[in-house]
Symmetry: C2
Subunit: 395 residues, 2 copies
């Protein structure tokens, strides 16, 4: 399904010759008038040059464009990398006639390799020329690296007397040869939202979606989620608690959809598993337990083998740092109870749980019996293909 | 090479019928007279019944025996598990004519399955009968689960006018179907060492050996390292700083040897990689970085593929929580510098690093350029066989 246009934005994707194998590799999203902007970037200390720029530019609250290339991450590239990130950002700003600080650059692809800035800059006029309201499909294709397919999501919501729309495009599929497969997500909305409200909405919407999704627990040097709001839908700005909550909730739906597509696209993965930890003593405890389960190689290989190995799940929670009494744990796979207050329910439920685990998409729920807090994490299984993809010598 | 006898101790290993496929599965180590004892047990909240007992008994400082079964972990087995752990401990104590609180039980094998206590108890007279000073090989075989072979280590050291010996036996090989492959290590020495000194020596010797070794980052419900000291070598007790340091250093050698054998035995693993992080701001930072590198699936698959993918190594350190400036990092694989103060050294060193990585055993060293602290971690590569071993449905 093509992404419907969002008032105030145009998209494009062109071939700049950055990807070795060819194909679309330069994507552009442009706001017709200055838009509010917010971004979340990787917390990895090893942070790519474009990410540093994008973070700084997003902090100003106003933006005109996202400039994204695939095929080269421009990470671990030192002074030269900083220069090319800035040069390409300036070239894009010039082509659009805006202040360079209103352009958020992003790169994804091989780490440590220099970005061929001249190719990117040479392709910019074509990218600007190609901009159109229904160009999201080209943009989505241009930012892909190891993805099996493009990832887009869309939501509409009535706010006051207006109907606003939110559209998102993402890429990412775990880590694969030869890339650090960066997670990138770009969202645009025609809602009128000031930067402070937009920042909070993005942070809240990412908390249990992008910030609770793992393919392999490794974070990239280039991860970023960014949103621009054009206000082209008209009406008063989103400001009241109620409007902000409704906007955040829809934004969360869009991010959830994109995050699920990314996790489901993990290399060699066949199952998307939603890990839900409930009845924890604190939200921190719930997150620790859910994260430990979602990233445990033992749990993930059991998911791959469709093996209801509840011992591994409980043991992962046990080493997570979350405080609980194992004798009070109850564990479900789908609707099947495998452990009830610390006691295994036996072989027949295990067989039914195994059947649940043959599905492409299911839920594992662990009650810690220690409080009322909860958290969730999106996980995928770990298969031999993941190893095959990641173990090849880069050559 | 068979393990030489250690004065004051006898070992045995017999078949009790606990392992489904048969073979030795009950091991016993007995001190001829009351020995000093110390133990370190899993920090996992989900802790097997025998571990709880062993920890409590070790805290008393005096012990007579280690009682170990393979084939069943007696973990997540509730009240019944606690009863069988206690019943088998009492039966062993009765057979030896000692206080049950002087027996440290340990179990390894399938999680969640009940321990067939009656079989274990029925085999005890044979296990006691079989005890002999040179019985360590049978003991080593009896505690194995998924290990490719027995794991033993031995050291001698002059202390004062005496020559003392330390012998260790371990099992463990990462996590494999259908077990949580527990790490167990049992060490005996004829040195005269009081329990407080023994405890400190064990903790210090484990810090950068057993507590810095990963196959897959998962910790078992049953992990334990325990040591008994008989004093049969004679001479004054190990008490001075100098003697304690010498004893600890030799104990560390024994544990290091055992830990290396365990990591090298990780399923599907072909390479033992020593990760050394130096010039860190604090020891905590060094440990965080070394641990993140050693457990990163991306780094481990690169080791498997003999791929000098330095970006993954530096990025793992970057997300570890250690504080450093990536521009000051220097990275070696073996003696080859791949990154010097943040700048890649190019394709020729990468090719030489690849050659280093074809060896079964090599070192990766990362200088953070942020201080003087250091830490190391033992890691292995992650191959498709690991997934194959761990993904099968338990049936």
């Amino acid at each position: 399904m093509p992404l419907p246009p969002v008032a105030g934005f145009r998209w494009s994707g062109v071939e700049a010759g950055i990807k070795k194998r060819g194909g679309l590799d330069l994507g552009l999203v442009v706001a017709d008038s200055p838009a509010s902007v917010a971004a979340i970037v990787t917390t990895n200390l090893v942070c790519a040059a474009p990410v540093v720029l994008a973070k700084r530019h997003a902090a100003r609250g106003v933006a005109a464009a996202f400039l994204v290339n695939s095929g080269c991450a421009n990470a671990c590239t030192g002074d030269r990398g900083r220069e090319t990130a800035w040069a390409t950002t300036v070239a894009c700003a010039d082509a659009l006639g805006v202040d360079p600080r209103r352009v958020l650059p992003a790169s994804t692809g091989v780490i440590g390799a220099p970005l061929p800035a001249e190719r990117l800059i040479a392709a910019l006029p074509r990218a600007v020329e190609a901009l159109r309201p229904d160009g999201a499909a080209d943009f989505a294709a241009a930012i892909m690296t190891t993805d099996r397919g493009p990832k887009t999501a869309f939501a509409e919501v009535p706010l006051g007397r207006k109907r606003i729309t939110i559209a998102g495009v993402a890429k990412g599929a775990g880590m694969i040869h030869p890339n650090m497969a960066t997670t990138l997500a770009f969202v645009v909305t025609d809602a009128r939202v000031g930067a402070p409200v937009l920042r909070r909405a993005l942070r809240d919407a990412a908390a249990d979606t992008f910030n609770a999704a793992s393919v392999d627990g490794d974070t990239s040097t280039n991860d970023m989620i960014a949103i621009m709001a054009s206000g082209a839908a008209g009406g008063p700005p989103v400001q009241s608690e109620k409007d902000a909550a409704r906007f955040t909730s829809k934004l969360r739906d869009v991010l959830d959809h994109l995050a699920r597509m990314i996790v489901a696209d993990g290399e060699g993965s066949r199952h998307l598993v939603e890990i839900e930890v409930v009845d924890a003593r604190s939200e921190r405890d719930a997150r620790l337990a859910a994260g430990a389960i979602a990233t445990s190689p033992l749990v993930k290989t059991a998911f791959h083998g469709q093996d209801p190995n509840w011992g591994r799940i409980v043991a992962a929670a046990g080493r997570s740092g979350a405080r609980f009494d194992p004798e009070r744990c109850t564990l479900w796979v789908g609707d099947v109870v495998l452990l009830r207050r610390g006691t295994p329910t036996g072989p027949e439920p295990e067989q039914r749980a195994h059947e649940v685990m043959t599905r492409p998409d299911y839920r594992v729920r662990l009650s810690l019996g220690a409080g009322t807090a909860r958290a969730r994490h999106l996980a995928c299984d770990l298969g031999a293909d993941y190893v095959r993809c990641n173990a090849d010598y880069r050559s």
